[in-house]
């Protein structure tokens, strides 16, 4: 008997398709940046500063989206910035997922003192104000790509741990787990073969959301001037730099903002779409 789910999947499909499309485009841009970027993102032309985008009077055809105050090509910097954004999203997202999910799984399934220990760790960690803690952390490690990823992981692993722990506990109570135990499988074996497959969908959904969050945190850190120190262009850095000349050169801020917004939106819609796909309850 076909039922209502067909209609829901079709609309979710559209959302998934668009989100996936943008992210694929982004990945392509990041990988091919060296070749497709019209100019070297670091090349400066002090005299060619603040040229408007191509469709505005006084534009220079060579710079499609205009230049920033140092005369660097905005489009190329966005393409190279995509590289950093995806690296941060991928590395920080996966690292957070791995650490958070493992601890969550251990706590949720093994219970006992393991659970007590990990839960206390989660409580302590969540008691730190996230932004303040990351500022302190980066003050210790100094700004850079590694420290930013570390800061994101340190702040957000508790989100994974909490959700996965709850899910593992719920799954653990299910009868199919009891039957697996009866069938003589060891505790770890059960955990990996029985619980993990059911928890994976939640992890995947959380992972995509986490990737979006990582890109946002990088933007926040560069707003507080703690982002990547090298010349490497990042969207967050461009937005922070563009802020001072918003009235004269709005494009320096607006285009990276659109790129950031579309990327984070795609990650969240991807996460929502996957959640619909995996979630049997939705009738």
């Amino acid at each position: 008997m076909a039922d209502g789910r067909g209609t829901i999947r079709r609309r979710a499909g559209l959302r998934l398709w668009l989100a996936g499309g943008w992210l694929a485009l982004l990945a392509l841009a990041a990988i091919l940046a060296p070749w497709i970027a019209p100019a070297d993102p670091l090349a400066q032309d002090l005299l060619g500063g603040r040229l408007p985008p191509i469709w505005v009077r006084g534009a220079d055809p060579q710079y499609l989206l205009g230049t920033d105050s140092l005369g660097r090509d905005v489009l190329s910097r966005i393409l190279w910035g995509a590289r950093i954004a995806l690296i941060v999203a991928a590395l920080a997202g996966t690292a957070t997922a791995l650490i958070g999910a493992t601890l969550g799984l251990l706590a949720g399934f093994l219970r006992g003192w393991v659970d007590l220990l990990i839960s206390r760790l989660i409580d302590i960690w969540m008691a730190f104000p996230p932004v303040l803690f990351s500022i302190l952390l980066i003050a210790v490690t100094g700004p850079g790509l590694g420290p930013i990823i570390l800061a994101i992981v340190v702040i957000d692993w508790t989100r994974f741990a909490r959700v996965v722990r709850a899910e593992a506990m719920a799954q653990g109570a299910m009868d199919y787990v009891a039957s697996a135990r009866v069938a003589g499988r060891g505790r770890i074996g059960t955990m990996l073969r029985e619980i993990l497959p059911n928890v994976v969908p939640t992890i995947v959904v959380l992972l995509t959301l986490e990737m979006g969050i990582s890109v946002i945190v990088e933007a926040i850190l560069s707003f507080v001037n703690l982002s990547i120190s090298t010349d490497q262009p990042t969207w967050g850095g461009m937005i922070a730099e563009g802020r001072t000349s918003i009235h004269q050169a709005w494009w320096v801020l607006v285009f990276p903002l659109i790129a950031l917004f579309l990327t984070v939106l795609s990650f969240s819609q991807l996460g929502e779409g996957l959640k619909d796909r995996f979630d049997p309850v939705l009738r």
């Binding site: 008997m1 076909a2 067909g6 209609t7 009738r283």
Partner: protein, 290 residues
């Protein structure tokens, strides 16, 4: 004149054209109990939902009439249809564990319809509730009215739901497999209770079930359903003596007898399935369905 008359009721899944009900017609007179029987997925509870206006959003009625006390519900505007159903019909749900709102006290869940829809005074509604709880043999009605669903057993909750259904003296009650979710010992008591309440209140009862055993004890008439189409509409006694339709006979054979539980059960033979499928297809063609 029967209180409930359904004529040529058809329904399908929106956008997919998959037929769920095929020109269903049946009547239930006041004081009469009609069984609605069929394998699960045959569409029997869909008919109950159509009458009470609680069809899933993805299902659309494509034809036919549902006359309640002579008025076709399908022609009424939604608000008016709601109020008319609320005033004159009621549902005894299948699973008592999920049919009561966990965060509201029992009393409110019985009196709310009386006060909000029928406009009764609160005191009169509460008296009515106490009176009905006694009628469904619940001890300490005062405590039960103030307690929450999770504090009561499944059987107790089903009694409350039955009381709630009869509270407004509805002219029609749809019982949607009211005993399936209960364990066997409680099923018997609940069946007896429904029978007694129906007889005492003279309500027209549409009893949806897949269990022919229940039908034989409770119903006067029955309709047998296959793939949304009524294949047989008869009195109970002649049916159990010798069902006319091959599918009904096969269905009867596949039902365990209380009298002889050990008898081997024959599943419905393939040939019979083929025959009834063809019959459904012919009926569709005749009615213009491709």
């Amino acid at each position: 004149m029967s209180f409930l008359t359904i004529r040529n009721l058809s329904a399908e899944l929106k956008g997919h054209g998959v037929p769920l009900l095929r020109r269903v017609s049946l009547q239930v007179a006041a004081g009469e109990v009609r069984g609605l029987v069929g394998e699960s997925g045959a569409g029997k509870s869909m008919i109950g939902k159509a009458i009470l206006g609680i069809l899933p959003r993805a299902v659309a009625i494509t034809g036919g009439e549902i006359l309640l006390d002579g008025v076709d519900l399908l022609q009424l505007p939604p608000a008016q249809r709601r109020r008319r159903i609320g005033a004159s019909a009621a549902l005894i749900p299948q699973d008592p564990l999920t049919a009561l709102n966990p965060s509201r006290r029992i009393g409110g869940q019985i009196t709310d319809r009386l006060v909000d829809i029928l406009g009764w005074q609160r005191a009169r509604a509460e008296a009515r509730a106490r009176e009905l709880l006694a009628e469904v043999q619940i001890a300490e009605p005062e405590r039960v009215l103030r307690s929450y669903p999770h504090e009561l057993s499944g059987g107790m909750r089903q009694r409350i739901l039955i009381a709630s259904a009869f509270a407004a003296e509805p002219r029609l009650i749809v019982a949607d497999e009211p005993t399936t979710a209960l364990d066997v010992t409680v099923q018997k008591q609940i069946l007896k209770l429904i029978q007694a309440m129906q007889a005492r209140h003279g309500t027209a009862l549409l009893f949806v079930t897949h269990d022919l055993g229940v039908v034989s004890k409770v119903c006067q008439k029955l309709s047998v359903l296959y793939a949304g189409m009524v294949v047989e509409d008869t009195e109970v006694r002649p049916f159990f003596a010798g069902p006319k339709h091959a599918y009904s006979a096969a269905l009867l054979a596949a039902t365990p007898k209380y009298t002889d539980p050990a008898a081997s059960l024959q599943p419905v033979p393939e040939a019979v399935i083929e025959a009834v499928r063809r019959e459904v297809a012919d009926a569709d063609r005749r009615a213009g369905h491709g």
